[in-house]
């Protein structure tokens, strides 16, 4: 965490329904950084994203954007939810959806404008969705919808883009497509990205840093620093192994009977 971070989480804790979902989470994200929010299901990733968006109040701690608390109408954070709960008959074409990214939060009518049309068209081309610009959003596949929602989020030029498990329901080639689009756009537009996933491997080519979440706590740093057995075992509260094979990383629970003493973590500088 440094004082000129774009996004700062300062000792954030969230308690819901009698359970502590997030405990004393602190980290910072700098402008233009691509950060993976990695962790198993149920670890608190979605809650963390909602806290940053202002959709989930914190029990203690603070979320700061550019050093000050986030205001409700802040347009500097873009958000791509995991799934759209829409019916196939939703009367929005892809280009309408992206256009809503500019002014969907405003009241009143507006006249069509060529400038807006061109902006939408450029954004669609940038994410590779131009060829289905006139299709209904409800008729697209998961991967196609992701691209459209990325365009929707980026068109208002946010400084930070949050994505909730964008790769969860995609096949491998769609996965790779989305990752490369994100990597390219993030660099081109100088947008910081925070992307949650339960598998870090597809993100290795583009990820600068990792925030690993487990049991409501986080470990932050470079992948090599954080994804280590000692660090992760401390997070999970039980022994885990980290296996590296063919350039990929697997985190697995240890079988029964492994010596618990092996699982002691010592690196206070990495875990906050």
């Amino acid at each position: 965490m440094t004082t000129n971070d774009l996004l700062t989480l300062d000792h954030v804790s969230v308690r819901l329904g009698g359970r502590e979902i997030l405990r004393d989470v602190s980290f910072g994200i700098q402008a233009g950084q691509f950060t993976g929010l990695i962790g198993p299901n149920g670890a608190g990733k979605t809650t963390l994203l909602k806290v940053i968006l202002g959709l989930q109040p914190v029990t203690s701690g603070a979320v700061l954007l550019d050093g000050s608390p986030r205001s409700p109408r802040d347009a500097s954070i873009g958000y791509v939810p995991q799934k759209l709960g829409i019916e196939p008959d939703m009367p929005l074409r892809v280009k309408d959806v992206v256009s809503l990214g500019l002014d969907g939060h405003k009241f009143g009518l507006r006249l069509p404008s060529r400038a807006r049309r061109e902006l939408v068209s450029d954004m669609l081309t940038a994410v590779g969705a131009q060829r289905y610009a006139d299709a209904r959003i409800g008729e697209l596949s998961g991967g196609e919808q992701q691209r459209v929602m990325i365009a929707h989020a980026l068109i208002s030029r946010p400084k930070l883009l949050l994505l909730d498990e964008p790769l969860a329901n995609l096949d491998i080639s769609s996965e790779q497509g989305i990752v490369s689009v994100l990597g390219r756009l993030a660099r081109a537009e100088r947008v910081a990205v925070l992307l949650s996933a339960h598998d870090m491997n597809p993100l290795m080519p583009v990820m600068d840093r990792i925030v690993y979440v487990a049991a409501g706590r986080v470990a932050v740093g470079d992948t090599d620093e954080v994804v280590q057995p000692e660090v992760l075992s401390r997070l999970y509260g039980q022994h885990v192994d980290v296996i590296r094979v063919h350039g990929r990383i697997l985190v697995v629970a240890a079988p029964e009977g492994v010596d618990e003493a092996e699982a002691a973590a010592e690196d206070a500088g990495v875990i906050r």
Partner: protein
């Protein structure tokens, strides 16, 4: 021409009023209906018609102009539904149903009390079905003003409503007051439905709200086109319905004419079903989504 339009059609005063009023109601219902169907609030839209009608009976009972009864009960029910409503769709429908049940109970009471003081035996029929040919011209200005108010509200909320339907989380994160917007829409819906229920009856009100909109959603891809298509379909249904009802005056079996509501409803439902005759490319996506949900570990 003579076969379609019976003599006297174009000269008839009641027909003029019916056409004008029917057109305004059809357009308003259609546009509001597009958002109602998209937001999954069809049951609320129907319930508000029945509830507003109860208000009409109540107003009639205490000697107040029915217009205020319809409006007050409609708006009041919308406010109440919003207060006790829950976010999940099913919970919302149940809350709506309970409010409807209470209102229907009141309707029973009002009708009973009404028959104590007069002999309006046909009251329950007229309440359900209305009678577009028996409108008084004095209601027209108030109707048009209220319809314009409902339309203006929905137009002002259109983008925000669409964004909220697309993703409530994105809308909330952009600072949209999602709950307040939902309440404002429900109020506009209540006003629109109260008016149409008063003029054309609860059944036609629901038909004009849901039918053209649902049909338009199958035909049009963008919000503006959907609204225009729905309005055109609604207006056509009303006009052709009125023509046929007028023509049917001489048809068997009773020589009294068939009811407008029958024709309008049949045209609306028929129009909806006809859209299924095209080669259907829309039944598959829902299956895909369900399969994804079933397999996903998330």
């Amino acid at each position: 021409m003579h076969y379609v339009f019976e003599p006297g059609f174009f000269a008839s005063g009641p027909v003029h009023v019916a056409l004008a009023v029917g057109t305004v109601v059809a357009i308003t219902s259609a546009v509001v209906g597009v958002f109602t169907v998209t937001r999954g609030q069809s049951f609320a839209g129907h319930s508000l018609a029945d509830i507003a009608t109860t208000g009409g009976s109540g107003a009639f009972l205490v000697g107040v102009n029915q217009f205020w009864g319809y409006l007050a009960f409609g708006a009041g029910a919308a406010a109440f539904m919003e207060m006790i409503g829950i976010q999940r769709r099913r919970g919302r429908d149940v809350a709506t149903g309970v409010v409807l049940g209470a209102a229907l109970g009141l309707a029973a009471l009002f009708l009973y009390l009404g028959t104590q003081y007069s002999t309006t035996t046909g009251a329950s029929f007229t309440i359900l079905f209305g009678s577009i040919f028996v409108l008084t011209p004095s209601t027209v200005p108030a109707l048009i003003a209220s319809a314009l108010l409902a339309l203006a509200t929905v137009a002002a909320l259109a983008r925000v409503l669409l964004l909220t339907s697309l993703s409530p989380d994105i809308a909330a994160a952009r600072g949209v007051p999602v709950r307040a917007v939902g309440a404002a829409f429900l109020m506009a819906l209540a006003v629109s439905v109260a008016l149409s229920a008063m003029i054309i009856g609860a059944v036609l009100s629901t038909a004009l709200l849901i039918g053209p909109a649902a049909t338009a959603l199958r035909l049009a891809k963008s919000p503006v086109r959907a609204a225009i298509t729905a309005a055109v379909l609604g207006v056509l249904a009303i006009w052709i319905g009125i023509v046929l009802a007028y023509d049917s005056f001489y048809w068997p079996p009773a020589g009294r004419g068939w009811p407008v509501s029958f024709f309008v409803v049949t045209l609306i439902v028929g129009g909806y079903l006809i859209t299924y005759l095209r080669r259907d490319r829309q039944s598959a996506p829902q299956e895909n989504v369900d399969a994804e949900q079933a397999c996903s570990p998330a």
